[in-house]
Amino acid sequence: DEGVVTLYSADGLHDGDPSWYGDQFAAFTEKTGIKIQFVEAGSSGVVDRLAKEKSNTQADVLVTLPPFMQKAAADGLLAAYTPDGADKIDARDKDADGRYYAMVNNYPNFIYNTEVLKEAPATYEDLLDPKFKQKLQYSTPGQAGDGTAMMLQAFHAFGSKEKGLDFLKKLQANNLGPSASTGKLTALVNKGELYVANGDMQMNTAQSTDNPNIKIFFPAGPDGKKTAFALPYYIALVNGGPNTENGKKLVDFLLSADAQKDISSVAKGFPVRTDVKPDDDNFKNLNAMLEGVEIWSPDWAKVLDSLKDDVAAYNQAISGN
C-alpha cells in the first residue's frame, strides 16, 4: 500500500459539487501519485473510531473539530509534526505541542427564515418570544458538534454556566425537539417548518444556494454584545498510521497556500494561513457578516474536561419542564 493515504475526516468539507476536498484530493493525487482513502463521519465519531482502532490503526491523517481534536491529542492518538508553512499559522490556531493545526476556520451562528421574519432576532432573549414556539430548533449539545458549540456560546454570552443553562431551559419551551444533525435544520428553516435554527458559517454559506430563504445572524447577549468563537477544522497526523510519510505529504498539501486560497470560494470557510488573502466575493461576504461580532477563544482543554458534566447539566436543565 505504498501509494495510498487514509484520511478520517469530520463531515463538511466534501459537500457540494465541486467540493474543496474533491478538488484538493484530485490535485494531490496528480501531484504525488498517492491515492486518498477517505472516511467521513461526525466530528466525535471519527475520533471515537480512531480510539477503538488503536491497536490496528488505519488512519494516517485526522480532520475534526474542537474539542474532539483536543480529545484525540490527549488520548495520544496524534503524532507531533511540523508541516511546511506551519509558521504561517497563528499560534491560537495550532497546538502548542505541534500535534494539530487549524485547516479551515469557521464560526457557529444562527439562521432565520427571511420569508417569515422581516428581520433577524436581535438578542438571545428575543428567541424566547412565544411566536417561536415549535418554530425554533437547535442541534442537541452532546449529540452534534454545533449543538455543543451553541451551548458553549450560551455559557459565554450569559456570563456563566448557570445563567447559560437557565436561558436554555427557558428556550426549551420553544424548542421543537432534539436534533442530532445541524445541517438538516437548514432545510427546515428554508421551508418555513422552522423560523430559527443554529448552524455554522461555513456550512450555512455553502447551503445558501440551495436554500435561498435563510440568512445568518448573531444574536446579542444580555450585555448587548454579539460574540462568537472560532470552531476550526483541525488537521493532524495520526500516531502509528500505516502510511505516515504519505500522511505528512497530505497535511503539507492541505495547508499549502495553493490549497488554502480556494477555501473561501469553494469550501465557504476561512483560510487559516496568514499569507493567504483571497479576494473572492464570498470571502468579503463572510468577513462582512462577522463585522461587529466579538471573537472569543474557549479553553478547549477545560471544555473537554467538563464536557460530560456540562452535557449532563444541560439534559438536567431542559428535562425540568
Partner: protein, 289 residues
C-alpha cells in the same frame, strides 16, 4: 438384549444429529458473542471489575426515563405493526385487488430506505409546514397547524410502525400461501363469516409467523435508534440513543456498555414476555412454542 439395544441406540443418533448445530453456533460465537462479551466485560469498568457504573447508571433519572420510553415505544409500535401487518396481509392474500402484489413489494422497499429518510418524509407530510397541515390550513383557513403529533412519542411510534410492518407481513404472506383452502371453505360452509374465519382458522394458522414477525419487530423497536434520533421527538429518549450519545459524544465507553448490557437484558425480557403471552393465547396448543 433387545431392550438394551433400544435403550442404547437412539442416544448416539441424537448426539450426531445435534452436532449439526455446531457450525452456525460457532459462526455466531466468533462474529457476535465474542464482541458482545467484550462489551459485557467493558461494562464492569476498565481496570478492576466493579459494579459501580451499573449502580450509577441504574439510578440516574435519564436512564429510567429512557427505559420507560423504550418500553412504551417498543410495545406500542409492535402492537401497531402486528395489527396493521395482519390486516394488510389479509387483504393482499385473501381479498387481492389489482396491484396488490406490487403494493406488497413497495411495502418491502420501505425497509430498505434508511430510517432517517422515512422521518424526513414524515416531516414533509406531517410537519407543521408539511403537506397535510398546509393543505388543511389552506382548506379550512386555519392559523395553526391542526396536526401536531410528529415530534412526540406518537410520531416515533407511527414511523416505527411504517418501517417495521413489513417484518410482520412477509412471513404472514408466506404462511397464508400455505393455508389449506379447504379449511376455509369448510368453515364458511358451516356458516362462519369472514371475521370468524380470520379469528378461528387463519389467525391460529398464522401464529408461528406472528410469533416470528412479532418477536423480531419487538426486538427491532426496542433497539431502534435511527428513527428516534432523526425525528428528534421532544423529551423522548431511548436506551439506544443514550448508548449513542454516551459512547460517541461523551466518550464514556463504560457507561455505554452498561446501558448496552441493560438494553440486551431488556430486549430479551420483553421477548420472553411476548413469547409467554403468545403461548398463553394458544400457541402451545398448536405445538408452536
Amino acid at each position: 438384549m433387545a431392550e438394551a439395544a433400544i435403550a442404547a441406540a437412539p442416544a448416539p443418533r441424537l448426539r450426531v444429529d445435534s452436532l449439526w448445530i455446531a457450525p452456525p453456533l460457532l459462526i455466531l460465537a466468533v462474529l457476535f458473542f465474542y464482541p458482545l462479551g467484550l462489551i459485557v466485560r467493558a461494562s464492569f469498568g476498565e481496570d478492576a471489575p466493579s459494579l459501580a457504573t451499573f449502580e450509577q447508571v441504574l439510578m440516574s433519572s435519564r436512564f429510567l426515563d429512557g427505559l420507560y420510553h423504550t418500553i412504551v415505544i417498543a410495545v406500542s409500535a409492535t402492537a401497531g405493526c402486528l395489527v396493521l401487518g395482519f390486516i394488510l396481509s389479509l387483504i393482499i392474500a385473501f381479498v387481492p385487488f389489482p396491484g396488490a402484489k406490487m403494493a406488497g413489494r413497495l411495502i418491502d422497499t420501505v425497509i430498505a430506505l434508511p430510517t432517517f429518510l422515512v422521518t424526513l418524509a414524515f416531516t414533509f407530510i406531517y410537519g407543521s409546514a408539511g403537506l397535510l397541515n398546509e393543505t388543511l390550513m389552506h382548506v379550512f383557513s386555519l392559523d395553526l397547524p391542526p396536526i401536531d403529533f410528529l415530534y412526540s412519542q406518537w410520531g416515533v411510534i407511527l414511523a416505527e410502525m411504517t418501517v417495521y410492518t413489513p417484518f410482520i407481513m412477509r412471513p404472514l404472506l408466506a404462511t397464508f400461501s400455505t393455508i389449506d383452502q379447504a379449511q376455509i371453505e369448510v368453515a364458511s360452509s358451516l356458516g362462519a363469516r369472514p371475521l370468524r374465519i380470520v379469528r378461528q382458522i387463519i389467525l391460529p394458522a398464522s401464529l408461528p409467523a406472528l410469533v416470528a414477525g412479532g418477536s423480531l419487530c419487538l426486538l427491532l423497536t426496542v433497539n431502534e435508534f435511527g428513527i428516534v434520533l432523526f425525528i428528534g421527538a421532544k423529551d423522548v429518549i431511548t436506551l439506544p440513543l443514550l448508548i449513542y450519545s454516551k459512547a460517541i459524544q461523551e466518550f464514556d465507553y463504560t457507561t455505554a456498555c452498561v446501558i448496552a448490557v441493560v438494553n440486551v437484558v431488556l430486549s430479551l425480557g420483553l421477548y420472553s414476555l411476548y413469547r409467554l403471552a403468545i403461548a398463553h393465547f394458544g400457541g402451545r396448543r398448536a405445538g408452536l412454542v
